[in-house]
């Protein structure tokens, strides 16, 4: 029979689905008859196609099944009953209920966190009334022969052009970051940072003013709009319109007070200065302020009219670009528009303002949460199907009384959704805890996210619970609905519950593979992170306190600090190396000192230091000596380089001693090499060691003081340093960090990732363990009789334990065999390729985590099987 050609099954299924039961049999028969007829003179394919078309053609009003309100009504009436049976089942199997609910709750809490994160990102800039009509002008800057650079910023020139001749724009505003100075109000001085913005700012954005006129507040030069917070800080109250604030020699007038900027805004400011001020101050002085290719510091936002499009504006921008680019040599600047809602959760742009998260990151987060939730769903599915023996009678009775398949399906789905909602309650509690931990993970995190509750997020939470319930309950529900009532009532053991054993094994292995990957990643990641912190950088970073200077000549402070007994030495530098900041010059090398033509030029990184810097940091001189002369600014003549510089220019055949006295030109000054340093790490571990030079400077007002501290009582030393600073600078608070702390900060992203993955590892292991535990309990329970009989026949306890464990241990072994190589490759081929220098991947870390997880699993399996093996066979066998 089976060899006979058949019409496509799914077409028949479709027919069965839509057709009225009364007409169905006849129709199906007719179509089949025609199908057989067509087979005689047409190909199978053709006949099947005709069959399919006919099925679709029969889709007519008189054939379509009427919705049966009775089914729905039954569902509705039965909900009370479903609820009751579900509750009784939960209470009856406390262990399994616990495993299910806790597993789902734990995994859903991660889901809730991800929902809250995504919700926050999508809520960015929602408070602007015209949020759907605000666009930012973004810039693509391309030097010939180089990859283009995409910038969030643009030029002042763009604003000038937009003002002239672009139709389709309702309003536009230009702003510029980086106003900073010391604000003098009466006798007090405050450090002050602000953003320049022009008068249309309040037309484009919704930042309400509580005082002042929004239309004119930013019109005149030297006008100032403060936020409430800044006003309170400067004046102590917010009724300050008309007051003046003095910067250097200029008086600025407060023309408005704005409400504090909402947390979820990508534009953040403490105060606004009218853009006319920038025109008046920088526009006059600075060359190129209005240049077309000066695209680094200004931001332009525009609103378009309701029902307006951006196509016309884009054409105009292209036109402007073509016209202006004629002036440029060897480069090109093009403009385009970006909707404001795409900024916080959007593509990477240089000079971006405010927080931005790559969509990919969100997808990865969501993916991980999904995997964890799925893992918990596996448990539910696994345990429900495994335990189906106990509920099959209930289903049988229901079916005999008159339940349809759909009723049973509905019942079990309803049950799993109920359990998921119960789990949601627990997971919400967990989420509240998680949220606190997440926000305190890193100061940046709490800067970006609030993770507040909103109606939208709560709806999503509920949707997540419903989805989880459906996903977890679907397979068991289908399984139960297929049960044949008669056979189940006659002999329940005939049920083929072990038919899906293969699938269940795969699920357990998958769960353990994930858990092992997570835990191994955490441990390896952590050891790598520790490795970066303790890496021998080639110089000393211990007991060095770096104090950031704020533009003041620090000689007095240096003297003051040197008098503190715990401070051994003080040096100055323009920057701190090895923490990610870099600065460099194109330098030229003059061979052997007398040549007039440079031989070669290259980019060399630089740090500008005084004579104490090298000794404090214990840099190793291979040849020559430290700076000897103490020239004033602009008269320097000495230079200390590392070995890479010798290698790059091939100075003195790379022999440090021969390289002395050679000349290198930096910024037009010819400097003599007086010392050669052993190579050290100037960049982070991501960078290879490259040519680096040290220049001399007596004073670096914007740099750092480096203090070598020898103290047993850090607290009192810090207090002394702090009091010395307070005398020196009354405006700015002290900003001092130990070098080791700075390095730790440089790798904070890594530590955050390790923490996050570690947490996921913990969850994954919890869930996998719960699932395994449930399976072991169930298997041993169902095999209790078998064990007893074996025992009566003389099997030993260890033999029985081995018999019961064997299957599970094999599964764990397979999981480990998959997970460990995957983790190794993940690190070796993907994650660590970013770093030029790193520790070898430790076997101990790789295996350690796996061992702990295995041990945990073995204890669980062992305890359960041992209990079963030790049971008294007489008791078990008696109760038949």
């Amino acid at each position: 029979m089976k060899k006979d050609p058949q019409p496509p099954q799914w077409a028949t299924a479709f027919l069965k689905w839509y057709c009225r039961p009364r007409l169905l049999e006849d129709l199906e028969g007719d179509l089949y008859e025609y199908f057989i007829r067509n087979l005689r003179d047409k190909s199978l394919r053709h006949a099947q196609l005709i069959y399919l078309i006919d099925v679709i053609k029969f889709l007519r009003p008189y054939t379509i099944r009427k919705i049966e309100p009775l089914t729905f009504l039954t569902h509705f009436m039965m909900i009370g009953s479903y609820f009751k049976t579900s509750r009784r089942n939960l209470v009856r199997n406390k262990l399994f209920s616990f495993i299910n609910i806790i597993g789902l709750a734990v995994s859903m809490s991660v889901g809730l966190l991800v929902i809250a994160i995504v919700n926050d990102l999508r809520s960015y800039d929602d408070f602007h009334e015209k949020k759907d009509r605000i666009y930012r002008v973004v810039t693509r800057h391309q030097d010939d022969g180089k990859p283009p650079m995409d910038l969030a910023s643009t030029s002042v020139r763009t604003a000038q052009r937009l003002a002239g001749d672009v139709p389709g724009i309702e309003n536009f505003t230009i702003m510029r970051n980086g106003f900073s100075g010391d604000a003098k109000v009466g006798q007090n001085t405050f450090p002050f940072e602000a953003t320049w913005a022009d008068q249309s700012f309040f037309k484009v954005f919704t930042f309400p003013l509580i005082a002042g006129d929004a239309a004119t507040a930013l019109k005149e030069p030297y006008s100032l709009v403060l936020t409430e917070k800044t006003a309170l800080k400067l004046f102590g109250n917010t009724h300050v319109v008309g007051h003046t604030v003095r910067f250097d020699t200029l008086d600025y007038q407060v023309t408005g007070v704005a409400r504090d900027v909402p947390h979820l805004s990508h534009i953040r400011f403490d105060a606004l200065v009218s853009f006319a001020t920038a025109d008046a101050t920088m526009g006059k002085k600075q060359d190129g302020f209005y240049n077309w290719d000066n695209v680094w510091s200004n931001y332009i936002y525009m609103t378009i009219p309701k029902k307006g499009g951006t196509a016309g504006i884009q054409r105009a921008l292209d036109q402007i670009g073509t016209e202006e680019n004629k002036v440029l040599v060897h480069k090109k600047v093009t403009l385009s528009l970006q909707p404001i809602k795409d900024i916080a959760l959007g593509r990477k742009l240089s000079n971006n303002m405010g927080p931005r998260i790559e969509p990919v990151t969100v997808w990865i987060l969501a993916g991980l949460a999904f995997v964890i939730i799925l893992s918990a769903c596996f448990n539910y599915t696994n345990l429900s199907v495994a335990r189906s023996l106990r509920r099959s009678r209930e289903v049988g009775v229901r079916k005999i009384i008159g339940a349809h398949r759909s009723h049973v399906l509905g019942q079990f789905i309803a049950e799993s959704v109920m359990i998921a909602f119960l789990a949601l309650l627990f997971s919400f509690g967990l989420y509240l805890f998680l949220r606190r931990e997440f926000l305190s993970l890193d100061p940046h995190v709490s800067e970006i996210f609030t993770l507040g509750l909103s109606w939208r997020s709560i709806l999503w939470f509920i949707a997540l619970a419903a989805f989880t319930g459906l996903a977890a309950g679907f397979l068991p529900a289908v399984f139960f609905s297929k049960i044949n009532a008669l056979s189940v009532m006659k002999d329940a053991s005939g049920l083929k519950i072990f038919r899906h054993l293969g699938l269940r094994r795969v699920l357990i292995v998958t769960q353990y593979v994930l858990s092992l990957i997570f835990i191994a990643t955490t441990l390896v990641g952590y050891s790598q992170y520790k490795g970066f912190l303790n890496f021998d950088l080639g110089f000393n970073t211990e007991n060095i306190l770096n104090i950031k200077l704020r533009g003041a000549e620090a000689a007095a402070l240096k003297k003051e600090l040197a008098e503190i007994p715990e401070v051994k030495q003080v040096s100055q530098s323009s920057m701190i190396t090895s923490v990610g900041s870099i600065y460099g010059f194109d330098v030229k090398y003059y061979p052997s000192g007398k040549a007039t033509q440079p031989a070669d030029s290259a980019l060399v990184w630089v740090n500008t230091v005084d004579e104490n810097y090298l000794p404090i940091h214990k840099h190793k001189l291979l040849a020559g000596n430290n700076f000897k002369l103490r020239p004033e600014k602009g008269n320097e003549s000495e230079l200390i380089v590392n070995q890479q510089v010798l290698k790059r220019f091939n100075i003195g055949d790379r022999d440090p001693h021969k390289a002395l006295e050679h000349i290198i030109e930096v910024e037009g000054r010819k400097l003599t090499i007086v010392g050669v340093l052993k190579d050290f790490h100037y960049g982070t571990m991501e960078n290879k060691i490259e040519p680096v030079m040290f220049r001399y400077s007596k004073s670096e007002p914007w740099g750092y003081l480096n203090l070598e501290i020898a103290s047993t009582d850090l607290e009192s030393t810090m207090a002394k340093v702090e009091s010395a600073w307070k005398q020196f600078d009354k405006v700015h608070p002290l900003k001092a960090n130990f070098y080791d702390q700075e390095i730790e900060n440089a790798y904070s992203e890594l530590s955050m990732m390790v923490k996050a993955i570690g947490f996921l590892a913990f969850l994954a292991i919890c869930i996998a363990s719960l699932g395994l535990f449930g399976m072991v309990v169930f298997t041993t329970e169902t095999k209790l009789k078998e064990i007893s009989i074996r025992k009566v026949l003389g099997a030993s306890e260890p033999g029985l334990i081995y018999l019961l464990c064997r299957g599970f241990i094999t599964l764990l072994g397979i999981a480990a065999l998959i997970a460990l190589p995957v983790t190794y490759l993940l690190f070796d081929k993907v994650l660590l390729t970013r770093f030029a220098y790193h520790q070898p991947i430790g076997l101990a870390e790789l295996l350690g985590g796996a061992l702990v997880v295995m041990l945990l699993a073995l204890v669980m399996i062992g305890s359960q099987t041992a209990r079963a093996a030790r049971s008294n066979p007489a008791k078990v066998l008696k109760s038949e």
Binding site: E25, D26, G29, D30, Y32, I36, D54, K57, R60, Y62
Partner: protein, 111 residues
Amino acid sequence: MKGTNLGEFEELVLLTIASLAAEAYSVAICDELERYTGRSVKLGVVHAVLNRLEEKGLAKSHLGDASATRGGKRKRFYEVTHAGKVALMRAKELREAIWRNIPGFNLEGSI
């Protein structure tokens, strides 16, 4: 009034049911119609008409026995009800009455 009106195709189908007697089921009706009219008759159309005739009470149906040619599915046999017979008779009489009123009708005149 809708219940008693008989469309042209409906009349044909009803007549075919009557002529097929005990063998009147959808596919057979289709074939028979094709044989009489010489044009292809779609199963879907016949089905719809049968359904309508049944709704109007002009035909009634019952399920027959299962047969292997239809993949084990039973046929639905149709027969003309009393109302159906009345409707057919009335349609026939109507036509004949009109025919009788045409004087000297022959085909040759129209060529």
